[in-house]
Amino acid sequence: MSNSYRNQPTVRNIDLGKIPEPRLFILRNGVPVYLINAGTEDIVRMEFIFGAGNKLEDLPLVASSTNMMLSEGSRNFTATELNRLLDYYGTFYNLAAEKDRAGIVVILINRHLEKILELVREILFRPLFPVKELNALMKKRLSWYRINCDKVHVLATDQFFESIFGKRHPYGRKVHEDDFSKIHPSLLMDFHSKYYTSGNMAVIVSGKIPRQTTNLLNSFFGDIFNNNIYIEQARNQLKGEATKKVNVNKPGALQSAIRIGSPTINKRHPDYPGLKILNMILGGYFSSRLMKNIREDKGYTYGISSSVSSFDLSGFKMISAEVSKKNTQKAIDEIYREIRLLQTEPVGKDELDVVRNYMLGEMVRMFDGPFAIAESFKSVWEFDLDNSYYYRFADKIKTIGPDEITSLAQTYYNIDELYEITAG
């Protein structure tokens, strides 16, 4: 007997349920700590977040180098000692600087909490920025940079951001070879003392949180205060470049990387959830229009996707693919064709039902386990939003109709305004 005689199981409604709300605890110096207590293993994830991203830098590489240098030597430990100790206690850590924020994520075994917090305080608040380590880091970064310049997807993405946000804004400007020689310890110390401060800091703790966590956080971080440094407001302006179509030449490349998109609204705008749903239909999941057409029907690419993302000062939408050179123009034409179709033809009920349920399932996955909950919380918190954003989003997924999608496509995917970047 074949299973084809068996009927498809009934699909039940997907319920987001109640999103666990973090508990807020405020350290003596006013630093907010958000606690998400859940999970099955004796392990905790702590994210220390600072408003210290690229957005605030006057020169390229300053925010990221400041962040990377934090573990390169502190008042009480050398870089080697810091790394050896963190590894000894089985800790995973990740320093990262993004466009708006920077900081460190630490995942640690609960029984080592106190030891690790001491090391994190060294890293965040007592770094020395030793010149020898800095020079070595900049040489390494230059070497990584050169390798990245050989990758068409990196070339295309960098050009995309420069084109849509402009050469004069940290969101857009590219890094060049000579930037690596301009970084000195004093620049990083200055950046650190301005932006790695208590007034600019938050902590998100998730996992099976040990009872003494809040006390320990207070004793290690509760007495750190702002340095009274006058911070001049950045005068950078977001302004896309006039040229909409750019090809970055990479002789000998077998494939071209394509990036098509433009600046758009961000998470704070009421249309944002609708735009995310539109994006999903266009290129946000495996059965999206772009995947079905350009990969599954024509076989032009291993993968094509579109995304809508948010920075503090702007959102952006971006379609990406890597395609054999002979098919690049054909793929680009198909991308525009799919956008026009969404602007003119209403989305059918079956397709919309699939998208609704897939996205609701996605939301359930976003809250599966303490670490996922923490990341989802952070991504609304950093826009001064809270979990009500997700309830609104879920509601929009359930209620949006074909006409609204068509109208969003007309408003937000004006083809004349899209940038078209290729590298290859």
Binding site: S2, N3, S4, R6, Q8, P9, V11, R12, I14, G39, T40, E41, I43, T80, R84, L86, D87, Y88, G90, F92, I107, A136, K139, K140, S143, W144, I147, C149, D150, K151, V152, G252, A253, Q255, F286, S287, R295, E296, D297, K298, G299, T301, Y302, E322, V323, S324, V354, V355, N357, Y358, L360, G361, E362, V364, R365, F367, D368, G369, P370, F371
Partner: protein
């Protein structure tokens, strides 16, 4: 402690279940005991191409993805030298859709010419994107055949040559399915918000009707012991010269495996690893350096690779690597350093167990190795390793006559 239950259906399908009520989801993992090692040397890349074809639909369910997405699910798959693994997660109320889909495509595929041709060109684009159009992308395509002369590990999962994928025909594809895809060649694991009773009931309901098949017996040639140093130099237009080294090791289930894994951690675990500390941080010879085990079931390899800083002589860089290896053979590591790498194994195990999908994949793989209890006691295997074993195992494997070395020289002038 990960508690799991195990049973087999009459058709030979093995089913394992681990309930974790803290998750709103269920993860379903199906491991097929087939990988690129089971390919004909003249038709490589088929196992991986086949993974793509598994999403091409059946006569009963023409589109695999849509019904799963309608159930709120998400899925993917991977192929390596040993296994092909399909996995999905779905909100717990809709897990039955997963059973329906997976049992259906285990029963039989709709082999269409159009699907085969499209997926061939998708896979060829993948070949370009991941291997040929990436700096250093072909390094492993070069190193593997240096180390393996007759065992199928000599080719990568993507295939030995693009033409192999181009030339596959529908008959070969059908034959591959019926000789490898069967309940008696698969392991089904469920983790997350599902009780063992429900899982077994559903497994019975959906999979017991899939018939057992004749599996093509695996008769792989044993790789002869390597007795000479193997070296190759290639020139490429890349920004920096790179060094690759690979040593043969034993099988995945040999005792030495854990010692070797610990050795690669002493060498390259985190920023405090010996290679990074000595050669990146102190001597500044490399911009990055790493070492790892291939984790193959048949005798695999230790792979070490590094990208050199500008102006560094590759022979000098290699000698410096060799010095660090000699040190492992001649001097016992400090107890503290041993504890460090063991602690790191413990915490990575705990971290991996925070995710239901990881747990499902791990349980399936350990079951394939014949010991699902490893999900709980593999850490003990690492704990048993002592300093003496580190030196002995290094002396046994990390020697020049067991090594293949690739110099990947940058021709770029600037």
């Amino acid at each position: 402690m990960i508690k799991f239950y195990r049973f087999s259906l009459e058709n030979g399908l093995r089913v394992l279940v681990h309930e974790d009520k803290s998750s709103p989801l269920v993860a379903m993992n199906i491991l097929y005991d087939v990988g690129s090692r089971d390919e004909n040397p003249e038709s490589t890349g088929l196992a991986h191409l086949f993974e793509h074809l598994m999403f091409g639909g059946t006569s009963a369910i023409p589109d695999y993805d849509k019904p799963l997405q309608l159930a709120g699910g998400e899925n993917n798959a991977f192929t390596n030298s040993d296994i092909t693994d399909y996995y999905l997660t779905v909100p717990e109320t809709n897990i039955e859709t997963g059973f329906w889909l997976e049992s259906d495509r285990m029963s039989g595929l709709d082999f269409s010419h159009k699907n085969l041709e499209t997926q061939k060109s998708v896979v060829i684009e993948e070949f370009y994107q991941r291997y040929l159009n990436q700096p250093y992308g072909d390094a492993m395509l070069l190193l593997k055949p240096m180390a393996y002369k007759i065992h199928p590990y000599r080719w990568m999962t993507i295939g030995r040559d693009i033409s192999h994928v181009e030339n596959v025909n529908l008959d070969e594809v059908k034959d591959f399915f019926y000789s490898h895809y069967a309940p008696n060649n698969a392991i089904l694991t469920l983790t997350g918000n599902i009780s063992p009773d429900r899982a077994f009931m559903l497994a019975n309901k959906w999979f017991s009707t899939v018939s057992k098949r004749m599996i093509k017996p695996r008769k792989l040639p044993e790789e002869p012991v390597q007795n000479e140093e193997r070296r190759m130099t290639v020139e490429r237009d890349v920004p920096a010269t790179a060094l690759y080294k690979g040593w043969h090791i034993g099988k995945r289930d040999s005792k030495d495996y854990y010692v070797l894994d610990l050795i690669t951690d002493l060498l390259a675990g985190g920023e405090s690893g010996r290679l990074y500390t000595k050669l990146v941080r102190e001597k500044k010879l490399f911009s990055e350096i790493n070492a790892y085990l291939t984790s193959d079931i048949d005798p695999g390899m230790v792979i070490l690779y590094g990208r050199l800083m500008k102006g560094i002589d590759i022979q000098y860089a290699e000698e410096s690597v060799n010095k660090i290896l000699s040190n492992l053979k001649e001097r016992y590591p400090a107890e503290k350093e041993m504890e460090k790498v063991k602690n790191k194994f413990e915490s990575s195990t705990i971290l991996s167990n925070t995710n239901i999908l990881n747990k499902a994949m791990n349980i399936s793989f350990y079951e394939l190795l014949g010991n699902p209890d490893l999900i709980n006691n593999e850490v003990d295997e690492y704990k048993k390793t002592d300093r003496k074993m580190v030196a002995e195992v290094s002396q046994k494997f990390l020697i020049p006559t067991n090594c293949s070395t690739l110099y990947y020289i940058s021709t770029r002038k600037d």
